[in-house]
Amino acid sequence: MSSTDISINQDVHHPHEEHDHHHDQNFFEKYIFSQDHKVIGKQFLITGIAWAFIGGFLSILFRLQLGWPEATFTFLEPILGGWIVNGKLNPEFYLALVTMHGTIMVFFVLTAGLSGTFANFLIPLQIGARDMASGFMNMLSYWIFFLSSIVLFVSLFLESGPAAGGWTVYPPLSALPQAIEGSKGGMTMWLISMALFIVSQLLGGVNYITTVINLRTKGMSMTKLPLTVWAFFLTAILGLLAFPVLFSAALLLIFDRSFGTSFYLSDIFIGGAALSNTGGSPILFQHLFWFLGHPEVYIVIMPAFGIVSEVITTNARKPIFGYRAMIGSLIGISVLSFVVWAHHMFVSGMNPFLGSVFMFLTLIIAVPSAVKVFNWIATLWRGNIRFTAAMMFAIGFVSLFISGGLTGIILGNSALDIYLHDTYFVVAHFHLVMGAAAFFGMFAGVYHWFPKMFGRLMDEKLGYVHFWLTFVSVYLVFMPMHYLGIAGFPRRYYAWTGFETFNFFTDMNTFISIAAILGFTAQFIFLFNFIYSIFRGRRSTANPWHSNTLEWTTPVLPGHGNWPGPLPTVYRWPYDYSKPGAAEDYIPQTVPFSQTQSSNLPQERDLE
């Protein structure tokens, strides 16, 4: 009897299964401790945006100092309190600002906010899965990240200030509380926050990899995956291999700080006393740190590669040029990213022979990067380009990636790095190539997938205004920084006026600061557009951009489980745009070749 009952129940409930789930969820299950990848993606996005504003605001504070070194900042006292001493920014707080800006932007915004958002949101939707392999781990990943960001946020309010030794936290500066105020409680909290963050990244990464390998829908072979999924997949692999090394570096630093070990400390006299630590090496930390740190910049930029490839091909109405070369270059970059770390250490005192090896390996990575740029440009060639806001940001991304990437060829050359290391040339280089460019990739992604996230479109015109103000101010901020760098201006300087060698270009620094304020202000247009459009934006159709990938075959607002009926089956690659002979200028991946006989290519005839 009972067995019949069960089967009847199953039969009755089957078509409504997704529906029932929905109704049973209370507010907390649905929006707070949700295990739905789409909600988790949105959680990452909103947290990321909040952090981006905090990180950006910190940069405006230190740009004020650099732009107007003689000015008094009493008007900042209500916000900064004791960090303003007699109207002057405290030099240690300046370093804390720089450190927090770097940490927040690299880890919380461009790692969690970028790949956390889009890998979560897009992987199941684009491979045709109901959700991530483990929804529970996915939820943990977000909440551990949230915890980690709370810890870092609280450290901003410590009396001794947050960590202040630069985002790279090189010991002994970060290991010794005598060396700088920020190495007291602030550094402890930084390390706890990072340890939690790494746990969150690993939970997420394992999930992304498993999902891509195991949960692809019928017909979705690896060579039919959209480039976004390829990028997220490889990014997750990089994270999984690199983050544990940062964890070990952080752990040893915790030991050195709190338990009297000497992994990084040796022969130190500080605060009027010689320390007993001996035998450690500060260089060891740099090796461990950059073994994560360099793949990390690709963890930041590769999701942007994927997003931009997708946005460009959709809006140019053309297949991405050289799909396999694009995958190949992603794999090439991923592999090479693990063997170039010591180019951050050419003048650290490392053996010069190692320097030449790493110079060789570093410059090789320019080849796959160049291939990607050429392929994007070739995709635009003879396209029929729709300038959506997302497309504007994608084009801006390519421009910024070229401008910032090329100077990498100079910095990767150890002989040239002697002079340019730790100058503003480096600052200009990485802000263009992995800072602003990754932000542009993120904006492109938000404008492009907003309709799938919230069922409404963002306002395009405000998007254009946002794009142009941002694009122009990014160039106005970072192009002049190259000149400062060529003139040798060192990084993380509170003021350059103490040196005759650097006592010029003051107007240029003021100019950069004004441009930075303009760029930061422009982000409020985005914030308004984002929040307004969630509630009042134009209602979207299921496939507003006429795109081929699977997420656009779901309803306007996909529910739990993504597709109301059975999962879609995939027949073709995602880039059949403007195929000759086809009725429309796009053919979604779910359309079998038998329905498109007029447009099939000779080799596709067999698949009909």
Binding site: L95, P172, I268, A274, T278, F387, M392
Partner: protein, 356 residues
């Protein structure tokens, strides 16, 4: 009152902007442009594509102008042999990447402009071209190979062992100043150990070592023009970095791990004063690795003399032990070994010496 007025006007401004935004939205609905696929309306396509082209032209011109305008200032005067090699390699590489920069940016913006959406057009289905892809993989590969080779040759020359006759100077970074030590007439730096550091003997020199007795510690660095100079670099507390911009020289100062860098100065301070037309010109040493509160203020002066002036200057210098005779008695009463043993870092200090 004023802040209230400012606040009110900001609110009014935001309201006006919001109303404009609403009107714009309503107009687009009225015109029916909201019925078309996004990005295919004529006006926004025209505006955006024109702005892209304009950005290329105006931005390019502004970049060229600002570059030319800053040229004099951004090129720091040069005063070392290897700096000449790296400067020319730098500008050679800059020309190569400049060409790539100009070509790719022009193509990017021009294609974006030229191939903007037109209702009656269809994009060209062009998924790949293996020949083209091989070509544009090989070209960067070859260029990179050449650059690696040039860089490697220069780097090897710069980091090669210093000549035997190099003038040896020890540079030590500490929060937040530099200290230097010359070996004196015997040409050998005396031993130094961190546990020996105190208020007088700030470099921790072991004065029970015979070689240390003639070491002198001046307040500025003097080096002879045209002679190789070897800097032996160390740090006392955290990592610092010796940065001499005019000599295109940088090397980290790491506690527990001595480093070195050698160079040949090519112009005396006097010659540089004439060349730059600045009678107060001084070569400076700065810190390039974040080291704490005073990171931005670790200034030290370097003077390049004619070799004879340099010899005269060296002859004038008084050894540290003569300036501070009391330090010698201290060194005798508390032998270094005992002190070192007490602090437990003797072995490492020995290593430091041999490495130096």
């Amino acid at each position: 009152m004023i802040s209230f007025a400012i606040g009110l006007s900001v609110v009014l401004l935001l309201t006006i902007l919001f109303l404009l935004f609403r009107i714009g939205t309503l107009v687009s609905i009225f015109r029916g442009s909201s019925q078309r696929a996004v990005g295919t309306t004529k006006t926004s396509n025209k505006i955006n594509s024109t702005l892209l082209l304009l950005f290329l032209l105006v931005g390019g011109a502004a970049f060229a102008w600002s570059f030319a305008d800053s040229w004099q200032e951004m090129n720091q005067p040069l005063a070392s042999v290897h700096g000449d090699w790296t400067d020319s390699l730098f500008w050679t590489t800059m020309i190569i990447i400049g060409v790539v920069f100009v070509i790719t940016q022009i193509l990017l913006f021009w294609y974006s402009y030229k191939y903007k959406h037109q209702d009656d057009k269809k994009a060209y289905y062009y998924p790949h071209n293996n020949k083209l892809e091989i070509v544009w993989t090989m070209i960067p590969a070859v260029v990179m190979a050449l650059l690696v080779f040039a860089g490697w040759k220069t780097w090897t020359k710069i980091t090669s062992a210093s000549p035997e006759d190099a003038v040896v100077i020890e540079v030590m970074g500490k929060q937040f100043s530099w200290m230097v030590r010359y070996p004196g007439p015997d040409g050998v730096l005396g031993d130094a150990k961190i546990p020996l550091v105190d208020a007088t003997n700030q470099m921790g020199v072991d004065f029970s070592d015979q070689y240390a007795l003639d070491d002198f510690m001046p307040r500025e660095i003097h080096v002879p023009k045209g002679k190789p100079v070897l800097l032996k670099i160390r740090a006392q507390d955290v990592i610092h970095s010796v940065f001499m911009p005019h000599f295109r020289l940088k090397m980290d100062a790491v506690p527990g791990m001595p480093t070195k860098f050698w160079f040949v100065p090519t112009k005396t301070t006097y010659e540089m004063q004439n060349e730059t037309g600045n009678p107060d010109f001084k070569y400076e040493l700065a810190c390039a690795e974040v080291c704490g509160r005073g990171h931005f203020a670790m200034r030290f002066i370097i003077v390049v003399d004619e070799p004879e002036d340099y010899e005269a200057w060296v002859a004038e210098q008084v050894p540290f032990v003569e300036e501070h005779p009391e330090i010698l008695t201290k060194a005798e009463t508390t032998p270094a070994k005992e002190l070192v043993a007490k602090n437990g870092s003797g072995d490492k200090a020995e290593e430091v010496k041999t490495a130096l």
